[in-house]
């Protein structure tokens, strides 16, 4: 291969071509010939570089990495002379290139294994060729050329891939049901309605590596016999939606979506459907209703979507992360995939670490890693050197796991047995200063608000639980409240229509089980052990520590603090509204909470 000192990449995006990219390229070649530079400078076509609408036709020149935009045939001559003869960057056409590094996803820690997150920040999600460079669409090519539908389903079954949406149902089984269901046409749906507070792994995959999901869906479509797919993504994720649309458009241009993919007789196309951000639309039947244009409300199952789904036709629904696993399993093989993970759960899982942990953010670990390793080795331990109290896994419907579960090896079964769920992978770490009753109240507030209201246990039950918890936090708890909470939780779990109601009481059930003493302290002693619930605490100023600097008195919004300069100050408890400002502003730690 000849050595070129410089390479020009010309964007051949359809929009750029419309705006004259081919003419610009021809002119480039002509100018280089005139200057006798053709054996020094190489010209290559590429997919989009910048935004074709505002910057096309554009080129990228290496090794300098300069991005020249909005070129015309007239601008080529001076550009070639300046850049390639005189070696000067031509500022008037140069633009800053979009950075593809991602500051939301950190470099992996030692114990992490990155599979789903491996490309994020490393490839340009808006350029399909970047994905192709990292073996993208090779799995789809392999499936279409070498494997039968049954082979694909068997491979996914053997990989023991399980639904990453949280329930952990074997993906291969799901595909088998949909493939075997009678009815035509069949549909593929990607559930990208990520709604757990603090969880953003699906958004990151859609924004950073959208083609892995598209490829996974196309492979699934081939396996179950579907030719149309929908990605249901919430409108609160505008960047994910626009990245997905760009990716789908590019895949169509390259013949990787649409009719006769890669010259075979398999056709598959995708569309993005936006949801209005209702939490319940993550439930599959509600999601289907929403795509159909109805209210996002769940319905009774069976019939399951595999037999009667979208528009009454057989439908397969998987989560973003599940689909992103598929091409990797096909491409790298079962042996590689099943070497990661625990006995029953293979592969890796992304988690969104949040709360009182040193390093918050997205992580990816193989199944079977202990909570202690995740929180301490990867998460860096509890913020501010405080003690660990609990971790809540799986989003608002998960349970809180106290210290004795720290050595739990995380997978679907172990979390379920411990009274929590895998969920989509939210992980909220709480330190010793967290009030567990208040936490239960917080999550109840969320699920109560997000309950769609279709079935009574969930609609009324969550409201009643919330009222009781609010009363307990306000110091008005009654002894019979604990029994009442137990009864309510049991009935909501048993009688609710969908997963939202069945999971909603989980934070209450788990905190009642592991932190009953805190409930009792609130109810019987009217005391909040973590000193969080405002109505159950009081502030007072320590005589030893107070220097009489008057800062607290000047900052108190209700004038409850009195005292002479350089003498100990006092808080009038009748006036105090327990806002905590005095504690925050005191420079000597003299304000104590009881």
């Amino acid at each position: 291969m000849a050595y070129y000192r410089s390479t020009i990449l010309v964007s051949m995006d359809p929009v750029c071509v419309r705006k004259g990219a081919v003419q610009v390229k021809d002119q480039l070649i002509a100018e280089l010939k005139v200057l006798n530079l053709m054996d020094e400078v190489e010209i290559l076509d590429t997919a989009r570089i910048g935004d074709p609408e505002t910057q096309g036709p554009d080129i990228l020149v290496y090794p300098e990495g300069v991005h020249y935009i909005s070129l015309t045939t007239d601008s080529v001559k001076p550009l070639v002379e300046e850049h390639f003869i005189k070696g000067r960057e031509m500022q008037q056409y140069a633009a800053k290139l979009r950075d593809i590094t991602d500051d939301e996803v950190r470099a992996p820690k030692e114990k992490e294994i990155r599979v789903i997150l491996e490309n994020i920040g490393k490839i340009d999600p808006r350029n399909i060729e970047d994905y192709i460079a990292v073996d993208g669409y090779q799995a789809l090519a392999k499936v279409l050329n070498e494997m039968s539908r049954e082979d694909v389903i068997q491979t996914i079954l053997d990989s023991k891939l399980r639904g990453r949406g949280g329930a952990g149902f074997p993906t291969g089984m799901k595909w088998k049901f949909a493939a075997g269901a009678k009815g035509f046409p069949k549909y593929m749906i990607c559930n990208a309605d990520e709604g757990d507070p603090g969880a953003f792994m699906n958004r990151k995959v859609l924004e950073g590596d959208p083609h892995s999901v598209i490829e996974g869906m196309a492979i699934g479509g081939y396996a179950v016999g579907a030719n149309q797919g929908y990605i249901y993504c919430r409108a609160e994720y505008p960047i994910a939606v626009s990245t997905l649309n760009t990716a789908i458009e590019q895949a169509r241009e390259y013949g990787l979506l649409g009719k006769n993919i890669m010259g075979t007789d398999f056709s598959f196309d995708l569309e993005v459907r936006m949801g209005a951000g209702a939490f319940v639309c993550g439930e599959e039947t509600a999601l289907i209703a929403s795509i159909e244009g109805s209210r996002g409300e769940p319905r009774v199952r069976p019939p399951f979507p595999a037999t009667k789904g979208l528009w009454g036709k057989p439908t397969n629904i998987n989560n973003v992360e599940t689909y992103a696993n598929v091409p990797r399993i096909i491409q790298r093989g079962l042996e590689w995939y099943t070497s990661m993970g625990s006995e029953k759960s293979k592969g890796t899982k992304t988690f969104a670490l949040a709360g009182d942990v040193m390093h918050t953010g997205l992580i990816e670990v193989p199944f079977g890693m202990t909570l202690r390793e995740i929180i301490y080795d990867i998460g860096g331990g509890i913020k501010g050197g405080k003690g660990y109290k609990a971790v809540q896994t799986g989003g608002p419907m998960g349970g809180c796991l106290p210290e004795q579960f720290l050595d739990l090896e995380v997978d679907y079964e172990t979390l379920g047995a411990a009274g929590s769920i895998m969920g989509s992978g939210g992980m909220i770490v709480m330190d010793e200063n967290t009030c567990m009753v208040d936490i239960a109240r917080f999550f109840m507030e969320f699920t109560q608000e997000e309950s769609c209201g279709k079935c009574v246990p969930c609609r009324v039950g969550t409201r009643r639980i919330l009222e009781i918890l609010e009363r307990i936090c306000a110091g008005e708890g009654k002894p019979e409240d604990i029994d009442m909470l137990h009864t309510l939780c049991d009935e909501i779990i048993q009688d609710s229509l969908c997963g939202l109601g069945q999971g909603a009481p989980n934070p209450v059930v788990s905190t009642l089980k592991h932190f009953l003493n805190e409930y009792e302290a609130h109810i019987y002693e009217k005391r909040c052990p973590a000193k969080v619930c405002r109505n159950l605490i009081s502030f007072q100023i320590s005589e030893e520590k107070c220097t009489g600097c008057t800062v607290c008195a000047r900052n108190c919004p209700v004038g409850a603090i009195t005292g002479e300069r350089k003498l100990t100050h006092h808080i009038n408890k009748d006036i105090c509204i327990r806002c905590g400002i005095c504690e925050q502003v005191c420079n000597f730690g003299a304000v104590e909470v009881n």
Partner: protein, 122 residues
Amino acid sequence: MPKINSIEDLKRLREEAQKIKELRDQTGKTQIVVGMGTVGIAAGARETLKAILTYIEDNKLTDIILRQTGNFGLTGQDPVVKVTLPGKEEVVYAKVAPDVAKRIMKEHIGNGNVVLEYKISE
């Protein structure tokens, strides 16, 4: 963009795409910069650049970035060539005629020995 119509198309595209991706990655590569201002070109910088290119091609060297820049501002020293081996201090050479360029390529880039006679101290 041409449609991908077969597995071979896809493999070919992957190779092209990998090459482009490789271009973006500039860590761990040797950098050679030739001063190509008006003075540089008049003093023969084009021939020097050609000589370096030919040397790279003939010896099938990889991981080298050859770029040009404007005038180095070293009056009477053109053609000027700057060489930076990965992790090393940069070395600036003066009056690099094509045969000197070849020597620099062989001794400095090939064996890591700076050609002291042509080196300019900063």
